[in-house]
Symmetry: C2
Subunit: 309 residues, 2 copies
Amino acid sequence: MPILCVGSVALDSIETPFGKAERVLGGSAVYFSAAATLFNPVQVVGVVGDDYPFDDLRFLEQRGADLTGIEQKSGESFFWSGRYHFDLNTRDTLETRLGVFADFQPKIPESFRSARYVFLGNIDPALQHDVLDQVESPDVVACDTMNYWIEDSRELLLKLLKRVRVLIVNDEEVRQLAGEANLMKAARWVQAQGPEVVVVKKGEHGAILFADDWLFYVPGYPLEEVFDPTGAGDSFAGGFMGHLARARSLKAADFRRAMVYGSALGSFACEQFSVERLKELPESEVHARVEEFQRITAFEAHVPSGKHV
Amino acid sequence: MPILCVGSVALDSIETPFGKAERVLGGSAVYFSAAATLFNPVQVVGVVGDDYPFDDLRFLEQRGADLTGIEQKSGESFFWSGRYHFDLNTRDTLETRLGVFADFQPKIPESFRSARYVFLGNIDPALQHDVLDQVESPDVVACDTMNYWIEDSRELLLKLLKRVRVLIVNDEEVRQLAGEANLMKAARWVQAQGPEVVVVKKGEHGAILFADDWLFYVPGYPLEEVFDPTGAGDSFAGGFMGHLARARSLKAADFRRAMVYGSALGSFACEQFSVERLKELPESEVHARVEEFQRITAFEAHVPSGKHV
């Protein structure tokens, strides 16, 4: 049961304290797919220019991605370049050139329209609506957004939330969206706008899933080297949705496990530039890391009896 | 087996978006004891002026605290006032008057010197050394510190670390101490200076315990109202040490549980001004919250078989 993913397919030039990478694979749809295809097929919809190294995406096809929804247009591909600061928690954008992405009009191929799982990467909410207008009746629509749309397309975004089952955003975004500093209250406010589940990503601090009457917390995997955090959030979403789609089940236990897979994939994404780490990642390493999350967080609540001994 | 706790016994005036409290109980030794005495007796050593409302500390005695190590001197008690910002993550110090605390010379009463568990609150490392010179041979010495001492008393502090088994600090402090932005590496560096266990508190993001070859992560309890975060870190330390001392055991399982008790007590401390919440807290509520931590973090790592179904 493939996941339909619509988002950016980009080229990134990245500088971190550890090195530089020039014009490497990037974009939300690419990171998402690189993570999700470890578990489940993905149907990708996006747009690239005639400068895009399309062959570099072939590894996704070998893992079950269908790339026929990526339109190739004459012009330049979406290009982003950024420089991370010493602590890797902050970065400066050096350049953004939208190229052919500026006029992106997602066209969902006929064969993708019956997708049961849909991930709307961070694009204009108007386009996210367009995508949903073209699909039949998915079981799970998950969506990401960013400060820019929250500010400039608030009404469209709020309408979108009524069509979305899972919102996956970061802590600043959920606070901004709700106009509320307290994370719990902000997430509850968003839920009242539509999404049954709100997943709040907190970078190195992990992520929290808010469901109707329960919540789940997964830490960030403690990495000794954060090599390049670009795409960690989309890789999280890919691990999360990939696991959920494979499970073919939406029980609390599936969502909880999906959170751990999300955090695991987000952490792998940080270990090398671009999707390099995700590209060669054996499933056994993913499972080993998931088990490590359990070792890191599990405890017995039982308390020895006897007070003031 | 009482815990010896040495630290500040202060009066705080606090403003938060929710209200004001004037000259209420504060200081590391007070918060620590209010939390730890829920589980285990505490022997408190500190100093107050003749303006201190000593009777307000009597509730600690009823829970097994021995306050005979708190010296009352002529002069003013340590006074701190601060104002929290809207998001409660940042605050401005409005005033600090050290009063009699400026000349604090911890004198450990004879009957306290055989303590097996010692908590050195955030005071001058020279005084922390003095305390250790006066005690016999404790099993667990835990200690806190702050940016000021890391900068100004680095050598004394590094010497102290050789005498300490558990360092309990926040994320900024461990990074500053190690001169290392990566938290894992910073904690490992500190461990190499002496402490077997490094506990890094991350405020609302929880805390991580680094032991020799394992680590444990506990989230911050998700509160809908953070009323006043003052003392949360010392309450964490109190819950942590209180549980550890009561368990009379230093197995990994005890440390893990102690982390959860620490985080639970830290969260309770934020629910009211000063130690108000800790004062009236029934043990049953503590246990209920500890169980809730388990519901928030537990997952089954088992993955349904079959890939790309």
